[in-house]
Symmetry: C2
Subunit: 332 residues, 2 copies
């Protein structure tokens, strides 16, 4: 049987209150008694039961993190940020994956609450109206991260998508490209795709260039692959800018499979800077979204809120960067 505070108290010949005091250093204890208690603790290998502690203090030091899929490298990166910063404040991560299932999101929100997490970070791909019901009833700090949809009801952390798309398009234009295709994700009303399109349009308009947008079903590599086929078959571009790295990798795959040289014949750029972007050959020029920082800032916000400091702004904007790599160059 594992030792409890009682065992320590008995063996040390003091009250459990005293043991509790030395363990938590919460109130003065005479040096001799303290020494004795600490020795006994050592001897018995006593470790406070965090569950019992949580029950009385209401502090579980647990943050619930609900993700779509850890297999997505950008999500692993966010979780990394959450965890590392969380640990700095003694918080641990209770992890749940939804694999895109809306019901699971709700189910896990509830589950995590019964497990007494102090806050929840939800990484989602959907719009899920039911969420609000639960965030409201729980009254715990909540951060909502979503690559597709923006919802001003929840606290979130992101980059300025419009600005980023604008800069990337401008970069390609400055390289000398005139025919720049934009591969857009078609999720109806994806509220975060709009600003990207705007940024692209703005740069093109400013330079009096003709816009050419290709819509895809989703953002997968397969979608990118298909988009590339369409673009190449209509011979309509010297540069392809994709709204998501995943699609961009698909584009590169199509070009590779069809013997089209990148960047000599066509330049390709992405959005995100997920792990493979820098590993794939040619390496992908893209917009580096600071996923690690997004996770870090998210949990920091929750911890701040837990300390009673209300953050005023719901939306936190982080800086991005244009990562220039092998996949882009001047047009031939």
């Amino acid at each position: 049987m594992v030792a409890t505070i009682k065992d320590v108290a008995k063996k040390a010949g003091v009250s459990i209150s005293t043991v509790s005091r030395v363990v938590n250093d919460s109130k003065p204890v005479s040096p001799e008694v303290k020494k004795k208690v600490m020795e006994t603790i050592e001897e018995l290998g006593y470790k406070p039961n965090e569950i019992a502690r949580t029950l009385v203090t209401k502090k579980s030091y647990l943050i619930g993190v609900i993700v779509t899929d850890l297999g997505d490298s950008y999500i692993a990166e966010i979780v990394r940020g959450i965890e590392e910063i969380g640990k700095m404040y003694d918080y641990d991560i209770l992890l749940c994956s939804t694999f895109g299932d809306k019901d699971a999101e709700i189910r896990y929100m509830q589950l995590l609450n019964t497990k007494q997490v102090e806050g929840i970070i939800l990484i989602s791909n959907n719009i899920n109206e039911e969420i609000e019901t639960y965030t409201k009833s729980f009254k715990r700090p909540f951060v909502y991260l979503n690559r597709y949809y923006y919802d001003d009801r929840y606290a979130t952390v992101m980059v300025d998508n419009c600005e980023a798309a604008y800069e990337m398009t401008s970069y390609l234009i400055n390289l000398g490209h005139r025919d720049i295709a934009y591969v857009s994700n078609n999720k109806e009303d994806s509220s975060l795709e709009k600003p990207k399109l705007e940024g692209y349009s703005k740069a093109m308009r400013e330079n009096e260039l003709k816009e050419s947008v290709y819509y895809t079903e989703g953002i997968s590599m397969e979608n990118g692959y298909e988009a590339a086929r369409n673009i190449v078959e209509s011979k309509s571009a010297t540069a392809i800018f994709c709204g998501y790295d995943e699609a961009a990798i698909g584009v590169l795959g199509y070009l590779y499979d069809n013997g089209i040289k990148v960047p000599e014949e066509i330049s390709v750029t992405g959005f995100g800077d997920i792990l493979i972007a820098s590993i794939y050959r040619p390496t992908l020029t893209t917009i580096k979204v600071p996923y690690y920082d997004i996770g870090a800032v998210s949990i920091r916000r929750i911890i701040k809120e837990l300390k009673g400091e209300k953050s005023e702004e719901n939306k936190m904007i982080l800086p991005f960067q244009i990562q220039k790599r092998q996949s882009s160059s001047k047009p031939k």
Copy 2:
């Protein structure tokens, strides 16, 4: 304030025992009372506090998972397996990342124990003698996963590395290759590298071919990149078999950067089948290690043990597969 069992009891005009009974369906309750209680629960939005429950039942339904780094796709895959199967048995994952820090492994083992996890799965890269002390004192189910070292003191799940390396080498030989270089990880005494080397040697010997092993500092892409340079400069191989996919991707990178065609001029194969293996171009021929299943089997073992069914074998061997892809072909 969130409703407790007391609130429900009072409002429903019954004892808390009765409420507990209907919540857990643990003892017969008269239909009318049951109905009344359930209505009250609904009305108050009552959800049992799992922390309080754990305190009395000793069941936290929490499994501690300590990983090196979620950013490694194979680890994300293992965790996926752990989580999905865990959820089937109502278990949740408490996640900790060590980033290779040995002390962190110990620290988290202790931490997770104070949090009352029912079992621990440790994914490590090191040999850490201290671990035994803790697994022993905790007496909780424990599974140890390590890509480099095998330690028969702990329960573990793996593939037959020797057999896998043998088959991959044989595959290359059957394609017609005679000069096959093996890129080995040099971690001194890495006890899992030995069987791989054996498998390679065995296949080469059986065909009276000259072995040529290149040792690297680690298994990173950079290591693979360097190894490829050495191999190419000494013109010593038509096929390169790497003990880890990461290194193989590095090899492909070097060949790409130096205009050497894969597989036309050199075939490349790996070990693991991590995510990029199938995304990178050319796609990588490799040994598919069932990481998801490794996670799944690990947690299933823990849950079995929790139910009192002791597994007799410490070492569980899972089947692998040779994944043939673009990076290998007959020699020219």
